[in-house]
Subunit: 202 residues, 2 copies
C-alpha cells in the first residue's frame, strides 16, 4: 500500500475539526491526494502543554467570537450548524470507535455522522445509546463494534495515538502533516493539500 500523501489528525470534540471532517474527503479527492485519518484526543495534549483547556474556553473573549466564526464558516461550506449547548462535548467512546475503524471504509462516514450529531443537531454523542443508534444508521454491527472499541487493546491504540500527537508537536486540532511538514487548522487544509500534490508527482 502506498504511504498516504496527507495525515489528518483530528479530535471528534473539536469544532474546527468538524469543518475539516466534513470537507476533507471531497477536497482530497478533487486534489487527487490520499488521506490517512488519525483520530486522537486533544485534551491530554493541552494538559501536557500546561494549558487549562481549549484556547477558546480559556480566553473567553475569543470564545464568543468563535461561535460567530463557526456559523459563518458552516454557511460558507454548506455544513449543518447548531451551536452546541455543551462545549467541549465529550466524545471519547466515538473516538475509540474511530480508532477501531482506522482502516475500515466506514470510518470517515462514522466521523461525519458523530460530528454532525454534535455540531449540527446539538445532541450527545458519548453514550452507548447514541453510538449504537448512529452505527445502526450506518448499517454496521453496533454491539460488536462497541465491545471491541471498549476492549483494552483498542483503548491502548487511542492512548498511543494521543502520545504520538504530542511527540509530533501537535498543539491543536485539526492538524495536517505532509511528511513532517505541519499545517494547523481547518484554514490550512487547502495549503496542506497543495503541499501534498507538490510532494508526490504521480
Amino acid at each position: 500500500m502506498p504511504s498516504p500523501d496527507l495525515e489528518f489528525w483530528f479530535d471528534l470534540a473539536s469544532n474546527y475539526s468538524y469543518l475539516s471532517v466534513m470537507r476533507i474527503e471531497a477536497a482530497a479527492q478533487h486534489a487527487d491526494v490520499s488521506v490517512q485519518w488519525r483520530p486522537f484526543l486533544i485534551g491530554p495534549v493541552f494538559e501536557a502543554l500546561g494549558w487549562e483547556g481549549p484556547p477558546f474556553v480559556v480566553q473567553k473573549e475569543k470564545g464568543a467570537y468563535v461561535w460567530r466564526d463557526m456559523l459563518r464558516q458552516c454557511r460558507k461550506y454548506g455544513i449543518p450548524w447548531q451551536q452546541p449547548t455543551v462545549f467541549p462535548r465529550r466524545a471519547v467512546l466515538p473516538t475509540r470507535i474511530a480508532v477501531l475503524g482506522a482502516d475500515e471504509p466506514w470510518m470517515p462516514a462514522w466521523c461525519r455522522a458523530i460530528m454532525t450529531r454534535n455540531y449540527g443537531e446539538d445532541r450527545e454523542v458519548d453514550t452507548p445509546d447514541a453510538v449504537i443508534e448512529v452505527l445502526e444508521q450506518l448499517g454496521l454491527p453496533a454491539q460488536r463494534i462497541v465491545e471491541d472499541a471498549l476492549a483494552e487493546p483498542n483503548r491502548q491504540r487511542l492512548r498511543d495515538a494521543t502520545r504520538e500527537a504530542r511527540e509530533r508537536g501537535i498543539f491543536g486540532a485539526p492538524t495536517f502533516f505532509v511528511d513532517n511538514e505541519m499545517f494547523w487548522g481547518n484554514d490550512r487544509l487547502e495549503d496542506a493539500l497543495e503541499a501534498a500534490c507538490a510532494r508526490a508527482p504521480r
Copy 2:
C-alpha cells in the same frame, strides 16, 4: 464622503497584520470595497484581557509553528519574508505616524514600508533614524511628520484608537469589521471582503 465598507484594524508589530497590510489594498480594489485603515496597539489590549503577551509568545509550542506558517504564507502571497530576530519588535513611533496619516494618501504605503523593513529585512523600525529614512524614501517631509506624530494631540489619538479597539471587542490583530460584524485574522480577509460586497449594493 461615503462610509467605508470595511474597517481594517492592525498593529504594525503583529506578524499576521503584516500579511494583511501587504495584501489588503489590491484585494479590496479587486472586490471594489473601500477600506478604512485603523492602526492601533494590540499590546494594551492583551494586557487588559489579562493575557501575558501575544499568544504565540505565551504558548511556545504554537510560537515555533507560527514562523513556519509565516514563511509558507509569505511564499504563497509573494510577500518578502525574513524571520525577525526580535519579536514582537516595538513599532510605537511608526504607529503614531500611521495614526497621524490616517486620512493621507501615503498611509498604506507607509505601513507597507515599515512592516517590510521589520518582517522582510529584519531591521529596527522604532527609532527616529529608521522612520526618517523611510519617510524620506516615500518623498515625505520627515522632520515635520515626526514632530506632529510625537505631539500630544496625536499621542491621544492613538490612545483613543486602542481604547476603541477594546470597546469593539477586538482580541487580536488584524481584525476586520463590516458594520459590527467582526472578522479576526488575515485568513478571514476574503470573507470580510465578501461580506462588505454583500452589504453594499452599489
